[in-house]
């Protein structure tokens, strides 16, 4: 795993090895925070920060961590970072923090974070590890934004809280699709994203 092809490290999590659509990790929060775009983006940034810095820190310590207690060390690092993120959000974006409720705290248990630590940070130098963390957070974020865009547009008729569907359309009899606000629809949307991605990328198709 001692690869230092930086463009691969950065590109893979965005497409061929996307944490949500290919590895199917972090689905729980993806369903919960994608009702609107704004919380989805904040969530995406938070996860990116946590994966990036936990990857960096664990990579710096990788030669000193005894492998028998590595999970505990990883958890301590991740938990401290998540608490930091949570405190920053509470201080500067209190309403959003309330909207995201427990899901910021649950980044600790997000499989993407632990997965990258185990699979990448423990065996790579700090710079690639940092890059890998950013890329995986971004890969997670892209899917969140796509799903939240569709859900907010069709479910509430708005984007970032601004009405984008004109009133004239509502007067003609259009109405918002309430099912988009329910988590099951987010699961179906992620399924559709996976479907489209697989039909486009030959490498992902199982024979």
């Amino acid at each position: 795993m001692a690869q230092t092809n930086y463009s691969d490290i950065f590109k893979n999590p965005l497409s061929l090895n996307n944490p949500i659509t290919v590895q199917v990790l972090g689905i729980c929060s993806a369903l919960a925070v994608t009702v609107e775009l704004q919380p989805a983006i904040v969530m995406a940034i938070s996860v990116t920060v946590v994966t990036a810095f936990s990857n960096l820190i664990i990579s710096l310590m990788r030669n000193t961590i005894p492998s028998r207690i590595r999970i505990i060390v990883q958890l301590v690092v991740v938990a401290s970072l998540v608490i930091l993120v949570d405190q920053i959000l509470k201080a500067f974006m209190y309403n959003l923090d309330k909207a995201l409720s427990v899901y910021i705290g649950l980044i600790i248990t997000n499989c993407i974070v632990m997965g990258r630590l185990e699979a990448f940070a423990l065996g790579n130098k700090p710079v690639p590890a940092l890059l890998d963390g950013i890329a995986n957070g971004a890969g997670y974020g892209i899917i969140l934004v796509i799903v939240a865009f569709v859900r907010e547009l069709l479910g509430s008729g708005s984007l970032f809280g601004f009405k984008v569907i004109p009133q004239a359309l509502y007067d003609l009899g259009y109405s918002n699709c309430g099912i988009m606000l329910n988590p099951p629809m987010a699961l179906i949307l992620i399924g559709i994203v996976i479907w489209i991605q697989r039909s486009k990328m030959k490498e992902l198709q199982e024979k």
Binding site: C177, I188, G191
Partner: protein
């Protein structure tokens, strides 16, 4: 036979290397719709010597649906004219209803078949006849005032997510028509429930007859109307013959029975599912009556009169659940869908029985849903493979035991 000659003439255009090879499945769909295919399964597959193929099965289902559809059209006109206070004869009512239902029917067929043809084309498969029944079922289970664009979106959602992602006709897990209805129900609840949607033109109507209510009998029961108060304006025979408001096809139990007889006689639908479904409803209805007696007997008739009124739904006679709402339609036409129902014979008894039990449980006990048949059938569709699995395992176990004993 000029049509046959014409088809033979244009056929080479759609073969490999012809002018439009991409449209092969479209051509085949129309050819087999017009003529019985004359190709014989040659080298592989079981040789079933029976003329009942998918096309015949679907045709029988459609014929079985016709009485309920025609009656539903008349019913739409009847209640619209009752609301406005006009009198229109048999044909006046029927043609008004035809004008309301036909657009929904056309939209449902066009949007659904468009996707079916598209997918057949992309996957280079034959177009299946399965949607011909689904497309007819959808207009019959939605309120008559459903906006057409909603019907189109729901139909496409059902075909795409309910059927095509699983591999098309015969591979679906839940009934596509019911999925379309469930989508509408959760996406646009204001257009799918309440007491404004069941009568054509009632929402936003300028004048209605004094005291006219568009609520369905089940809607009234969910509002704690007692059974006696309900039967004072809709008699039991009204409910049986279908002179009650409701979704287009579901109102007349009589017409649905005619369809059921045809389906059972031709062997297209399983009588076991229908019978066990009816037994399930009666069982749950009686159980709820019993529970009602038990609860109310512990209350004081004078002091807790308001509380007792809240339990009035529990006292609806069990047989009434069979003729109210969508149960009859659901158990005859939707629950018996051979793709999504249980496959084993014992499994069919369990599956049907549980459809009946869950339908009445949701209908009576959950105030958020005045009707539970849709939920019950969808739930049991998802559960059917588990039922089959258990039945098959039990069978294997029994036969293993027998084999051991004889050793």
């Amino acid at each position: 036979m000029d049509l046959r000659k014409y088809l033979d003439k244009i056929k080479p255009n759609f073969e490999e290397g012809g002018k439009h090879p991409g449209l092969k499945s479209t051509f085949e769909a129309f050819e087999s719709f017009l003529f019985v295919p004359n190709n014989v399964t040659a080298s592989k597959g079981a040789h079933i010597r029976d003329s009942v193929d998918l096309k015949r099965t679907i045709t029988v289902v459609i014929i079985a649906l016709i009485p309920a559809l025609l009656f539903g059209m008349w019913n739409v006109g009847y209640f619209h004219h009752k609301m406005t206070g006009e009198t229109a004869g048999l044909w006046g009512n029927f043609f008004y209803g035809l004008g309301q239902v036909l657009p929904i029917l056309v939209v449902s067929y066009v949007s659904g078949l468009f996707l079916e043809f598209l997918f057949a084309q992309i996957r280079k498969e034959q177009v299946n006849e399965g949607f011909l029944a689904t497309g007819l079922l959808i207009p019959m289970i939605v309120p008559v005032d459903t906006p057409l664009w909603m019907v189109a979106i729901a139909t496409m959602f059902a075909v795409l997510i309910g059927k095509e992602v699983f591999g098309g006709t015969g591979m679906n897990i839940v009934n596509p028509a019911l999925l379309a209805r469930a989508f509408l129900f959760f996406a646009y609840p204001s257009k799918m429930s309440g007491d404004k949607v069941w009568i054509a033109g009632l929402d936003g109507a300028e004048k209605t007859v004094d005291g006219f209510s568009g609520a369905t009998p089940l809607g009234e029961l969910a509002q704690n109307t007692s059974w006696d108060a309900l039967t004072s304006h809709y008699s039991v025979s009204d409910m049986f013959f279908g002179f009650i408001p409701g979704a287009v096809g579901e109102t007349s139990t009589l017409c649905i029975l005619l369809g059921a007889i045809l389906l059972i006689w031709t062997g297209v639908a399983s009588w076991k599912i229908m019978l066990s479904g009816v037994l399930g409803v009666l069982f749950m209805g009686l159980l709820l009556n019993f529970a009602g007696d038990h609860i109310v007997s512990s209350l004081d008739p004078q002091k807790d009169a308001a509380k007792i009124a809240e339990y009035s739904y529990l006292f609806v006679p069990a047989y009434a659940h069979l003729i109210l709402g969508g149960f009859a339609f659901g158990i005859v036409f939707m629950a018996t869908d051979p793709v999504t129902a249980a496959q084993t014979e014992t499994g069919k008894w369990i599956y049907g029985f549980l459809v009946g039990v869950v339908a009445i449980l949701v209908r009576v006990v959950n105030p958020a849903f005045p009707e539970g048949v849709m939920m019950a059938i969808l739930l049991m569709n998802v559960t059917a493979p588990i039922i089959d699995h258990i039945v098959v395992r039990q069978n294997v176990k029994r036969r293993l035991n027998r084999a051991k004993a004889s050793k």
